[in-house]
Every structure is written in structure tokens, then in C-alpha cells.
Symmetry: C2
């Protein structure tokens, strides 16, 4: 219990997203539904056994810093070790690098179980995978030979070091400096903040990937380079030898995700902080963003997973907690019903199901696009890449926004019990609250979508999305149960296409501040349309599947919920966007 | 800073709600705007000096229970003492009882400053006031003479003891028993849970007001009686003498409101728990609910206050935090702007202003209704009581629901800073999260409104509301700036009146389970209509006031925001209600 229901995952993987078709891509020829399932079995077992049990404990007992060393719970170290030992840290690597050569889609399903079980302990291996991939893509052979074996074997973790005390969303302003040294390395100097996993005692070493500006580089985003900065220098065997000049200035204390350290790091206080340039100078942000885009899909997936966890917990509670009677029952001595019998509790559960499983579908779809973008060819490959680029802000944001709503409802289902830490749902909310903030806030994602992604490559991503949505409308319309919803989506989608044209013209006409003012609304609106499309897809797949009747009924009803209760909100958002409403934009600052 | 802006309070008190008119009511003849203002000055100073500074500390350092004694921070005790010493615990009592004879409206304004400053420390005096008032209304002279002096002087605090481990929303099922003893008292036996302030070390004694069932009483809500159960028996001087048989079984650990103990209490483990019947047998729930209704207005006011606090904190941050540039600025070397310049940040601030100040208005309006219901006469008195009865579920729920959204936005404005406990807004959210749960959940309030309050007294409350809304529509329509909004509200209100008729007929026709299934949506919809009405009222008052131009501009723009961004959502809710949508109601339980 508590992890994501396996039927739900299998349905999405096989009945909806046709994971088996991925075995036709060259790197996945040796795979089959059986190997996929075995891997997911393993991941689920490791998540249940080594991550789930200490989720609450790691929240209650945050990492401690005594001025010298950070101490985490022994359970967090054990969890990390078992993740590594199960081969999950290298699951996506080729066989010849001792990996499992696993598709992103299946890897995503595995990862969802870890975030559902324990998001803060899962963050350490996830960060390490991301950092190692970045090094693998862009660093020199020498750097790779030194650092990758340590990271792949779990002897060092990785971090992504972007934010500074004065620089968050606006990375172009960062001031951490890099000065070339005689030996070809650099001396890094600056302070960084909100660095997840920036210090801890899980491993002997930590490999920081640090954005900094080489002295004399241009201002803004075009002058940023990426450096590998180890916590410890290593000897030829890879063992830590001397400390690099990276110091932990302090731990930050988060609302949730408490088991993951969030750090303030000082680089080069003694002018001795050695950093190694990754790739070319001034290309750092580009490298970081190739990684960041996958990280954003990862944030969405994490948000979906925590939403699923909250849904599962509140559903289990609602099935077992007796309280009250239906309004029609006037017999005070009759037996109380389980609260799932109350219509309002069913509303809160059905909304959670629609949000959580809609979000999970969206993110796994994103992972499948990654597979196609990496390994298919021709139009299919290009389509997948363009769709992925377009949808990344939606995949990051929609699960974060509606996952949060789902977790808020999970608390409400439990009532007083939901409000106390003796039950797990309030932690779900607190963990989830990070997701609309990190890896680009909601507002930043909105600007990215409306200001950039829609128009990129002559809007080919949008055309690919249009084709995909209309294909589902067409095929779903053939099922009697889905005809009305298919027609509704078609009408909404036509309105959307027209509005996007209008906004494109407004942007081209050139008052970006005004046209982009409601970009966050645009992001939410677009997300709702995309998720409505995918719910129709899920419903259609359910009708075609041989899943049990109750399972299919649940999928159909969640789809109906989305179309009847959620999609109509798009009218209002559409009208705000179509009128380019300036109520917020025009609010005078001194009138607040 | 951080407390509710005084201009905001004064505007609501004097420009909108005409607090001065209350001085025409007999008990308030000796008051004036000056005495009101002095009291509010005192309250604000005590809140700022003695409550605000330890708000974060009391959250971080929860009360501790060593198995024998509960220990709270010294600051919490000091705060309680200063609240008492300032005369605020007895502010509403008559002059002859050493009170200030203060109207509920002004008392509400004072109270809002304490909740904005520190909700968990404020809970102890608030609970004590409520419990003392209940004793004052319903208990025998003997009980009053013994216990009221102790409570009024802050030597004993009070509690409201309703919930049991198996009985929350459905109080009719409670099993705590009361057995008559020879001396006219009762022996209480049972376990109670989620009792706020159920044990602590602030005062020598605690007076519990306990719902229990006298042996042989009818099942359900009609067999419940109310008992006064002291923690300590007292001697003739009121000093604690021997312990009553009430034991703290344990503390619960909440998501927020952590400075207020939440307890599990065991009554009569040794069969020696003495309780004194308050008023008549079997009337306990009625008594408790007369108090509960004021408590519900208090919950709304607390929710509004925490929303105001989050708004103030995020506004201050947005004015001072430089980050990024407007989309139109392409010069990477230009100076970053303050984040309040970003349209999306302005959206999040304006939404907070609309929610927080709309909620505050609603709750102060509720407090003014309490004054009129208590002290005016004839139609005015009856109207006020009926309006208050009707609107109590809205006053409790709307601020709780939208205050929570406001606090979520406050976190988002601060971004990463909003997510760490080094800044106060994440605590605001955690404190606020209780409000949609306690004193009747959102779902319970919806059933109360749609199933009962609308139809009570031949819908006279609804008629009074209709008259009040239409009066504002009429007068606001005379201002050119407000004409469109007045017309919009009129059209929405006409639709609402028709829908309420329809639902009334459906209820009378008799499928309450189905008709009440979407009662929560009804509650939110009704709340939005009421708050739209009151924003129009605020805008009209701003135009007529001599407040500074920027202040009035802010009020007008917040009103426009509510009409353009919030009110249109009513269409969707209306349609769900009008169609008696059964998507959630019809979801089969085994299909989740």
C-alpha cells in the first residue's frame, strides 16, 4: 500500500502508452514486457522496503549540521545504497556500461514509486543521475574518467548549483566567478543557495556542477560557464585526498522535502576552490538547460507521484473510517457509514484521481517522448522532440499545480486526522509545495510556453500536438460513451487554436509585457486542454483493454469528471486571455 | 509591520460598516470612534509586542509532554498574561463587570490583530472567552460564581470538548457517559480527542466544557448534555485543591497551529471524574451550538487574518526583492526590477488582496450582525439574526477556503524563500490549513447552508440577504465606475435566486442525498456571490471616502479583479448545480 497502484501503472504503460512498441527501437530490442515488469517489480520492492518506512522519520528528524559535519539518518544512507545496489542508478546506461539500457518510460515508472514512497530520500540518487548524465554528455574524457565511475557506483553524489542569494529565476545575473589558473583549471569564488544535497554524509564525496562566470565574460546568460567542483580532491584510486575549498555556510529549513539537505555553499573563501570547465566556455547555461529540461519532466513526475500517494492514503482512510449517515437517513441509532459513502468525500477522491492519474499519464507520456526523441528517426523523432520541447513547461507545471490541489484534498478527506503529523498526508502537501517553485517557477514556465515554446521551429511542436489531439478526438468519437466528450474537446481545441493565433499576432505586433502578462493563466489553460485530451485517451484505452470492469468504470468516470467539472473552467481562462485582460497588469504598485 | 494594515481596518470599520452607528445602540452609548480607536490601538500594541515576536519560535518549539506535565514556552504564558492585563479577555463584558462593553465589531477588529500576529498563542485566550461566555449564558449561579471569576481573571483557561476518537463530524454518536452522583454532580467517563488547549502550564486550572450522554438518554443529538469538568477541584478561594480525574493521554502533533496544544484527554479512568451539568439535561448540543455559531464566525475571522498576514508579508517582499527584467527589456546589463513589477507577481498579490480583504470584510460584517442581533430591536434585530444564521456557514468557510489560496500564493510570491521556515509565509499556510477542518468541515458547512439555513424561518434570512444585495446594486449603479459591475452582479444574483428556488423544490420533492451531493460547490458559489456583493460595497465606500487616492484605487482594482477574475467562475458552479450533476455522486465505490 501507499505506493502507486500497480494496475494504474501497468494500464498507463501498456494499454495507453504502448510501452512494448519501444522494444522496436534499436537500443531496446533485447527488452520485453517481462523485463520491463521485472525491473518495475524490483524498483517497487526497493522503494517499499528501503524508502517508504523512514519517510516520516526523515521529515521529523532533519539533517543536522554541527558547524563541521552534516549528519543524516542511517536509513537515508541505507536507502541510497540499496538504490545503487539494485542497479537503478545506472538503469538507463547501455549494457556495456553495466546499465540496464532501460527506456525513459520504464525508468520513469520506477522513479515514480520512489517519489511516492519518500521524495526526500529519493532526491539524492535522482540528483546524482542527472549530474552524471550531464558530465557524460558534455565533459572531457579526463573528467569523465575520474568522476563518472565514482558517481555511477554511488561513491559520490551530484548536485546542480545554480541559484545565488540574489539570483534565482534570473540566472543571467549570477556573479559567481571563475578565474583561469595555470594548470588549466579555474578558481571559483561566490556564494550559492538552495543547493539540494549540497552537503551530507551519505557518500565520501560530492560532485558539484556549478554555474559561474569566467572573468571578462559577457553579461547575461551568454557569459555563463559550467564547472565541475568536487567537495574532495581525489587520488588516483578515486579516494578523497584533500578538501577542496567549498564550505557549507549553513542548512536551510524547508517546509517539506526535509530529508534532503538544502544548503548555502561558499566557494573559494580561501581562494583555493578548484573547478574544472565542462565543455566550452560560455556554454554553461545551454548545457544546464539540456539537463534542466529532463529535470523539469522529472519535477512533473515527482508531483504526480506525491499526488498519487495522497490519493491512495485518503482513499484507504475513506474506505475504513465510519462517520455519520447519508442525509436521507433519519435514524440516529443506525450504523454510521464509511465516509466514502458521502458524496462530498467521493468528490474529493474523484478530483484527486483525475488530477493524480492525469498528471501521471502526462509525465509518462513525456518520458515516452524522450525515448522517441532519443532513439527513433525521421519524422517520428523530430515530432517527438518538438512535442517534448513544447510540452515541457506543461509537464513541469500542471502536475505541480494540480498535484498540490490533490494533496490539499487528501488532507480534507481525513479531516482532523489529515491535519496531524500522525498521518502521512500533511507531509505530502508540504513535500509537494516545492514543485511549483523549483526548476523554474510557475510564472517562469508560463513565460517559457507563451513567449517561446509555442513559436519555436515555426510552431512545429504545436502542429504535432494538434495532430495528436485531433487523432484522439477522431478515434474516441467512434465510441458511443465518448462521443459527447470528443465533440466537447474538439470545440475547445478549435477555440484554443484560434486564440493561440491571436496571441501570436499580438506578440508579433510587439507589446510583450502586456501580451505575456497572463502567461500563467495560459499555462494552466493549456495544461487543462492537454490533460483533457489525455483523459479521453485513457478512457478510450480503458474501453479497449481487458482490465476489470470496475477499473475501466473508474477511468471513464474520472474522464467524465475532468470533462464536466474541470474543462468548463477553460471558458473563463479563455475569455481572460482572449480579451488580454489587464486588471492585474494595470494595478498601480502603490495601490497595493 | 506584519499585522493588518490599520488603514484597511479603519476603512472597513468606519467607511464601510459604519461602526459609529453602533453607538446608537443602548449598551454602546458611552462609546465613540475615539474609544474604539484607543481599544484597537491597545490591542494592536499588545499583539505586536507580546504575540508577534514568538510566532515562529512557538511553531518550532512545540509544547512538550513528559508524561506528567505539559511545558509551553515562557513567551506564550507572557502573551496570555498581557492579553488579560490589557482587559481584552473581558472586552465585551458590561462596565459593571469590569468589561469594556465593546461591540462585537470592534472586538473582532482587535482579535484579527492577534490572529495575524500569532494564531496559536491567541487560541488560549479566545477559547477561554468562548467557554466563559457559554457558562455565563447557561450555567447555574453557583457554577458561575465559582468558575467565572477564575476564567475572567485568567487564572483558568477554558476548552470546548466535543470530538472523540470515533466521533468527529457526527456528534450524535458520541459515547462519553455521565452518571448522576448522590451530590447532584455527575461522573464522566470517556475519551476525547483534538481538544485544543486541553492541557498546558499557562494557568493553574483548566475548565473543560464536555459533551456527554447521561445514562439512559436518547440516541443521537437529542441525548447530549453539557458538563463543566475542571482539571482541578478548587477550595473556597478558588485555588486548586485536588486533581479531578481528567488525564492527558497524549499530545497530537499538528501541521500548523503548533503552539496550541491539541490533546487526547481521558475522563474518569479512576471513575472519579466529577462533572457539573450546565443548564438542562439533553440540551447540551443546543448550548454548544449557540457558542459554536460565534466560534464559526471566529474561524472565518481567523482565516481572514492569516490571509492578511500572508498578503502583507509577500507584498513587503515583492517591493524589496530585485529579480529579472520585464519581457520587453533585452539589455542583460540593465538593473533588475523589483519583483512587484512582474505582471504575474502582481496577479498573485491582487488575488491575495481580493481574498484577504474580501474575507476580512465578510467576517467583520458578521460581527456587526452579532451586535445588531444582540442589541437592536424590531425588524432590524430580526433581520440581523436571520442574516447571521444564514451566512454563518459562508462566513466560516469562504475565508477558510480562499484564505488558504491566498497563503499558497504568498509562498509562491517568495519563491524559494517562501518554501523555507526562515520566512514566515509557509507557517501561515500551515496554520491556515486547520480552518477548513475545525468547527465543522467545509462539507458540513455546505450541508448546513443548502440543507437547512436557506429554508429556515421561511427563508427570511435569504430575503434579508436579497434586500441587502439589491440595495448595494442600486446605489453602486449610480457611480459610473461601478455600473458595469453592478449590472453583472444583478444578473448573477437573479440567476442565483432562480437556482435556489429550483434546488428548494428538488429538496422538497425528496431525494436529499442527490440534491445535497454538490452542497460544497453550492457553498463556494454562494460565498463568491456574497463576496462580490461586498466588494462592490467596498468599492462604493472607497469612492465616497476621503481615503488617499492610491488606497481607493487599490480597492477599486481589487473589486474589478473579483468581478473579472473570480465571479465568472460562478457560471461553471451554477451549471453544475442547475444540472444537479451526479458525476461524483454516481462514482461506484469499488471503481476508485
Amino acid at each position: 500500500m501507499a505506493l502507486i497502484d500497480r494496475d494504474t501503472l501497468d494500464f498507463l504503460l501498456y494499454d495507453v502508452l504502448d510501452a512494448q512498441a519501444l522494444t522496436q527501437l534499436a537500443p531496446y530490442h533485447d527488452h520485453s514486457r517481462e523485463t520491463f515488469s521485472q525491473t518495475l517489480d524490483t524498483a517497487t520492492r526497493v522503494a517499499e522496503t528501503w524508502f517508504l518506512p523512514h519517510n516520516g522519520k526523515a521529515d521529523e528528524h532533519e539533517p543536522q549540521f554541527d558547524g563541521d559535519t552534516v549528519t543524516t539518518l542511517a536509513e537515508v544512507k541505507d536507502a541510497f545504497r540499496h538504490f545503487v545496489d539494485a542497479g537503478l542508478l545506472t538503469a538507463r546506461l547501455p549494457f556495456e556500461q553495466d546499465g540496464m539500457q532501460l527506456p525513459s518510460l520504464i525508468n520513469g515508472a520506477c522513479i515514480s514509486q520512489f517519489t511516492a514512497a519518500n521524495p526526500s530520500s529519493a532526491a539524492y540518487p535522482f540528483l546524482t543521475m542527472a549530474a552524471a548524465n550531464l558530465i557524460d554528455h558534455f565533459a572531457s574524457d579526463a573528467l569523465k574518467q575520474t568522476w563518472l565511475p565514482l558517481m555511477r557506483s554511488g561513491q559520490a553524489t551530484g548536485t546542480m548549483v545554480l541559484t545565488e542569494p540574489d539570483v534565482g529565476s534570473s540566472l543571467g545575473d549570477l556573479t559567481t566567478s571563475a578565474t583561469p589558473a595555470d594548470d588549466g583549471s579555474y578558481r571559483i569564488r561566490g556564494q550559492k543557495m538552495y543547493i539540494s544535497g549540497g552537503d551530507h554524509d551519505l557518500t565520501d564525496n560530492i560532485v558539484h556542477l556549478v554555474l559561474a562566470r569566467i572573468k571578462g565574460a559577457p553579461a547575461g546568460t551568454r557569459g555563463i560557464s559550467l564547472f565541475l567542483v568536487p567537495k574532495w580532491h581525489v587520488d588516483d584510486s578515486g579516494a578523497p585526498s584533500t578538501r577542496n575549498d567549498v564550505a557549507l555556510a549553513g542548512l536551510l529549513h524547508k517546509m517539506g522535502y526535509r530529508g534532503t539537505t538544502s544548503t548555502v555553499l561558499t566557494f573559494g573563501e580561501q581562494d583555493q576552490c578548484v573547478g574544472y570547465l565542462i565543455g566550452e566556455a560560455h556554454q554553461g547555461l545551454k548545457y544546464m538547460f539540456m539537463m534542466m529540461n529532463e529535470a523539469r519532466v522529472g519535477v512533473g513526475l515527482g508531483a504526480a507521484s506525491i499526488a498519487c500517494r495522497g490519493y491512495a492514503e485518503s482513499l484507504a482512510y475513506a474506505r475504513e473510517r465510519p462517520q455519520g449517515r447519508l442525509p436521507s437517513c433519519k435514524d440516529a441509532s443506525s450504523k454510521p457509514v464509511m465516509i466514502i459513502e458521502h458524496a462530498d468525500v467521493r468528490r474529493m477522491l474523484l478530483a484527486q484521481k483525475a488530477y493524480a492519474e492525469g498528471a501521471l499519464m502526462l509525465c509518462l507520456y513525456g518520458n515516452r517522448l524522450i525515448d522517441l526523441a532519443e532513439h527513433s528517426d525521421g519524422d517520428e523523432q523530430r515530432n517527438a522532440q518538438q512535442l517534448l520541447d513544447l510540452l515541457t513547461p506543461v509537464i513541469k507545471s500542471w502536475p505541480s499545480e494540480f498535484g498540490l490541489k490533490a494533496n490539499e484534498l487528501a488532507i480534507q478527506v481525513l479531516g482532523g486526522a489529515g491535519y496531524i503529523r500522525e498521518y502521512p498526508v500533511e507531509q505530502c502537501y508540504r513535500d509537494q509545495r516545492l514543485n511549483p517553485i523549483h526548476e523554474g517557477t510557475h510564472g517562469i514556465q508560463g513565460l517559457d510556453l507563451l513567449g517561446r515554446k509555442l513559436w519555436q521551429d515555426n510552431s512545429r511542436g504545436l502542429m504535432a500536438l494538434d495532430a495528436a489531439v485531433r487523432a484522439t478526438i477522431r478515434t474516441a468519437g467512434e465510441h458511443e460513451e465518448l462521443q459527447v466528450m470528443a465533440a466537447t474537446l474538439e470545440s475547445e481545441w478549435n477555440k484554443a487554436s484560434a486564440l493561440i493565433q491571436t496571441l501570436g499576432k499580438a506578440l508579433a505586433a510587439g507589446d510583450p509585457d502586456r501580451t505575456l502578462a497572463n502567461a500563467s493563466v495560459f499555462l494552466t489553460w493549456m495544461g487543462h486542454l492537454v490533460v483533457a485530451w489525455q483523459w479521453l485517451w485513457q478512457a478510450q484505452a480503458a474501453l479497449a483493454s481487458d482490465q476489470p470492469d470496475t477499473f475501466c468504470q473508474g477511468k471513464l468516470q474520472a474522464c467524465r469528471y475532468f470533462f464536466r467539472w474541470e474543462l468548463p473552467q477553460c471558458n473563463h481562462w479563455h475569455d481572460l486571455l482572449a480579451s488580454q485582460d489587464d486588471t492585474c497588469y494595470a494595478m498601480p504598485i502603490n495601490a497595493f
